[in-house]
Amino acid sequence: MLNFAYHSPKTLADAIDAIRNSGGDILAGGTTMVDLMKIGVHEPPALVDITGLADLEGHEIGPDRIRFGALARMTHVADDADLVSVAPVLTESLWKAASPQLRNVARLGGNILQRTRCPYFRDTAYSQCNKRDPGSGCAALDGGETSHHAILGGSSGCVAMYPGDWAQALIAFDAEVHTQGPAGRRTIPFADLHVLPGDTPEIETILQPGEIVTGITVPVVPALKASHYLKARDRESYAFASASAAVGVELDGDTVRDVRIALGGVATTPWRARAAEDSLKGKPLTEKTAREAGRIAFADAKDLKGSAYKIKLGADVVAGALMTAKSRAQGGE
């Protein structure tokens, strides 16, 4: 079988040491890591199981910031009724992710770092995958099936989709990621955590070896209360997004004071649609301006074979999400 060393440190410092000494990877819920190990895509020499680090569990809602431990379970956070009323986008995007079984096991730190579902990445029978085997090429772009691939943020070497949902809520609301590693602690703006594939699609984040995500914070702003995550998917119960939008608005009368828009199911990384936000600021939010914002969000999209539908679908989803957020801002549902 695939042999690997297994460590279960009791402190964060021990965990960092264990990773450094073993050259291994972090194991939390394992829903991505174990999966990739079973299919032969990822073969770390060691796993450092951090689920014993109780300090990293839980979450709390403060007046200025909402703090999530890296080991908080998706289910626990999604089910928090207080969070639903303060920041619906943060619970809705968890609820619409994965299946109940996966949400019970998966942790938030791992959730934001989940790997792509690109079938060419996940099947070692394909010799071409720059993400799995740098420099080997891209089977998807070499005539492959690309209807589920990214239309934003891709490169000539990789168009693998970032599959997550919660990350869209985080990037939309200027979340920060807190880490600890061999070089000490640092705080990273969520928008800087993931990097575009460019020529190095094997590098997905700026995290350094041994650097552990310890928590995530989200500043509380008025638009968070009138927020919404809308996910369009081919199967209602459980499917990756065909297109999704995490949005929030703060209105002054009918006029947009603050607006947040992030896109899922369409990009290689979590994706903030700033130009679309800018198009709405200071203007009334109507079906017309919402649709225009949706159009602008995809102005730079580069459709691949079979994926053109995502441009229209994504724009409609942005517009639909904004209209729900508006209704929430005005005291409706």
Binding site: M1, P119, Y120, T124, A125, E145, L230, S237, G320, A321
Partner: protein, 752 residues
């Protein structure tokens, strides 16, 4: 004794299944058992230039690695479509040839399953790659069996051109269906154990007789030297019918290493090592006069097949039975591509073809300005339009009327987009379902004891459908016993012959054999008790003694309970073999079935056409913003002769309808065209509907009597439920949005 037929009886095997004590093939662990794993080909077409097994062999726990270079005693069998018991005619690992992606190239045996799988991952193969194509090409199709006499592959009646020329309205369209895979919950598995030249194979099977006969023949063994054991099957749907390479490789590997070997095929490998539903293009041309009566009916079915088999599941044989029409032309065509051989998947002739036919009828109704139900009514027929024989029973319009009542069809406003609810566009659609009544020869052994217990034994299968329960019900009804007093054992190759559990045959065919055995028990006991010096039936002509609900009755009204009569015999028990042979079965059909083949006398005999019918109605909602498609309501009404068990039958029909939702909206095996591989080979991305995707599904089972099909009057219901669903949903999507979607699955991407 309470009535047991046509009642709702809870599955007798339910406690065993929910407590985990039911033994499935992968649960058995013969002493000393080793584990197998497959390595499969990365390319579709070409040659293995080199296969390096050194790393795999060096892996701790690995006992042996077999490739085409060193596998002794591996015995291919002939493929099903060439008249044999195999799933395909091409057998990988006989040589270095690669003919489809994912074909087995090596078989690893190890002490643990993990070591075996790791060993398989460590196999290094180098290939010489040739051109390949995974999808069919409708422009490059050929008529099945051209040049040979393969009956019915082309049908012509009347003058199609004339029928089209005189039509007031015509519809001409192509409907496209994708590759689909069965994805049964239970993985493919095989465990083989040799003891000398006696072989035992445990594996989930829809045909233990086929398996035993095929293996015995391949290895030159007596059938009695081969045991095939399959008491429980965790879903099959057509995928566990034939003998596959993974089974024969496991048998060969077990022989080579001198120990029992168990293989559990991985989920991704399940997409390539057995069969699937081939993709298809259904071309229809319909013409009707102003009143809606069909004047022309043309159906050309083009479906995908492998390079080495001709997969013929003649869907035109089903569509041409549907509606009255004087001018009919049908053709059954194939197009080859580089895959393993496809096969049967739940309603293999019907799902794809009715997706086409029932949308074409909807399109025709719209052109005629008619209600789509009325178009079916005006073209309903009590004679088979081509064979020109009467239907043994046909309750199509009764089904439509029943489902229209429960669904509220009268509330439908016909204009496209005329029904909305907030941000949802609402559509109602309907479609016809039919399924042929296949009847095959079957035997069954029934032993009844004077203690009031009965044992029923036959080589039939419970593929999750409730067969154990209905066999007990059939015996209980005639013998006058409680259902729980009738112990049914099935699923072994040396039991009395029963047919393949495929084509919705088991209840009708195997059930009729059990029924016959119980009648024979009555006859035999009548002979014995009438010859006794005393007793209530002493001296009565045994031929005049009737058995009904467990009571033997003489013409003069004298009665004796069967249990008491059996107890009074010297043996205290009686054992008989029941037989089901239909007058329409030829000797060739019976022989074929006894040899493990498919000798059905249905659906069309020289006297009658035998089909079950039904109608489905569906409400679809399409969201204005997300374009998501939802199915809040799906109703069906079906008439399939006698319903043996109202609970398990309901589940079968409902399960079929839910599968139809999957076919309509979810299921597709995606393809990588440059490298000719199936892509989404896991159930995270091969979508099927789960509980949370299914809302109201209502099933109505109509009373229908059919004295021709078999003594029980049973037609099959295992596949009927899926047949109309996809077309009904497509028709409803059109009604909601005005978009006519002629390709499955229907997705948001089609509606933006």
């Amino acid at each position: 004794m309470a009535q047991t037929i046509n009642t709702a009886v809870t599955r007798t095997d339910a406690p065993r299944k929910v407590t985990g004590s039911a033994t499935y093939a992968a649960d058995v662990m013969p002493a000393g058992m080793l584990h197998g794993a497959l390595a499969t080909s990365a390319i579709a077409v070409g040659t293995l230039a080199r296969i390096d097994t050194a790393k795999a062999e060096a892996e701790p726990g690995v006992i042996a690695v077999f490739t085409h270079e060193n596998l002794p005693d591996y015995k291919p069998v002939k493929g099903f479509y060439a008249g044999g018991p195999g799933s395909a005619s091409f057998w990988p690992m006989e040589n270095a040839r690669i003919r489809y992606a994912g074909q087995p190239i090596a078989y690893v045996v190890a002490q643990t399953a993990a070591a075996a799988r790791r060993g398989a991952q460590l196999i290094e193969a180098r290939y010489e790659t040739d051109e390949s194509r995974i999808t069919m090409d409708a422009d490059d199709s050929f008529v099945v069996g051209a040049g040979e006499d393969r009956e019915g592959m082309v049908t012509t009646k009347g003058d199609l051109a004339q029928g089209l020329a005189t039509a007031a309205q015509t519809v001409e369209a192509e409907y496209i269906t994708p590759f689909q895979h069965h994805n049964p919950m239970e993985m493919f598995a095989a465990t083989a154990e040799w003891r000398g030249d006696r072989l035992t194979v445990w594996m989930p099977s829809q045909s233990v007789r086929t398996l035993r006969a095929g293996i015995a023949q391949a290895y030159g063994l007596a059938e009695t030297s081969v045991r095939v054991i399959s008491p429980f099957v965790g879903g099959a749907f057509g995928s566990k019918a034939g003998i596959t390479p993974y089974t024969m490789l496991t048998i060969a590997a077990a022989k080579a290493v001198g120990a029992p070997v168990r293989l559990i095929v991985t989920r991704p490998q399940m997409y390539t090592v057995a069969t699937f539903r081939p993709e298809s293009v259904q071309r229809f041309r319909l013409g009707a006069d102003a009143e809606g009566k069909l004047t022309a009916f043309e159906h050309i079915e083009m479906s995908q097949t492998s390079q080495f088999d001709e997969v013929v599941n003649p869907g035109t044989h089903m569509t041409r039975a549907m509606y009255a029409c004087p001018n009919i032309h049908t053709e059954q065509r194939l197009s080859r591509s580089d895959t393993n051989t496809g096969g049967f998947m739940r309603a293999p002739n019907e799902m794809q073809t009715f997706f086409g036919l029932e949308q074409a009828m909807d399109e025709l109704a719209i052109k005629l300005g008619m209600d789509p139900v009325e178009l079916r009514r005006i073209n309903d027929t009590d004679r088979h339009p081509v064979a020109d024989v009467p239907f043994s029973s046909r309750s199509l319009m009764e089904s439509y009327d029943a489902v229209a009542r429960s669904f509220g069809w009268a509330d439908r406003t016909p204009e496209v987009g005329s029904m909305t609810d907030g941000d949802w566009l609402v559509g109602y659609g309907c479609a016809t379902a039919t399924y042929p009544t296949n009847i095959l020869a079957s035997n069954a052994r029934v032993r009844m004891q004077g203690t009031g217990l009965a044992y029923i034994e036959l080589a039939a299968h419970d593929v999750g459908t409730g067969t154990y329960t209905i066999m007990a019900q059939i015996a209980a009804a005639r013998l006058g016993l409680p259902v729980e007093a009738c112990d049914v054992v099935m699923g072994e190759g040396d039991m009395p012959v029963a047919p393949i559990s495929g084509g919705s045959t088991t209840a009708a065919s195997a059930g009729s054999a059990v029924h016959d055995a119980c009648i024979k028990i009555g006859h035999q006991i009548a002979v014995q008790v009438s010859a006794m010096p005393q007793g209530p039936l002493s001296g009565v002509d045994p031929a005049q003694i009737a058995l009904e609900n467990g009571i033997l009755t003489a013409p003069d009204g004298q009665t004796q309970p069967l249990i008491e009569a059996v107890a009074s015999t010297p043996e205290g028990e009686v054992e008989v073999i029941g037989e089901f042979r239909h007058k329409a079965m030829t000797d060739e059909m019976i022989k074929a079935t006894f040899q493990g083949g498919y000798g059905t006398a249905g659906p069309v005999t020289p006297e009658m056409a035998m089909f079950a019918f039904g109608a489905e109605m569906v409400e679809v909602r399409v969201h204005r913003w997300t374009h998501e498609i939802r199915v809040p309501r799906l109703h069906g009404a079906f008439a399939a002769g006698t319903i043996l068990n109202r609970k398990t039958a309901h589940s079968q029909l409902m399960g079929g309808m839910i599968w139809g939702i999957g076919s309509a909206l979810h299921e597709v095996t995606e393809t990588d065209k440059p490298r000719a591989r199936f892509l989404n080979t896991n159930i995270a991305e091969y979508l099927i509907p789960v509980n949370a995707d299914v809302r109201e599904v209502r099933v109505e089972m109509l009373d229908e009597r059919d004295d021709y099909v078999n003594p029980l009057g049973v037609k099959g219901i295992g596949e009927l439920g899926i047949v109309g669903t996809a077309a009904a949903i497509a028709n409803a999507v059109h009604h909601a949005t005005g978009k006519r979607l002629r390709q499955l699955p229907i997705r948001m991407s089609d509606l933006v």
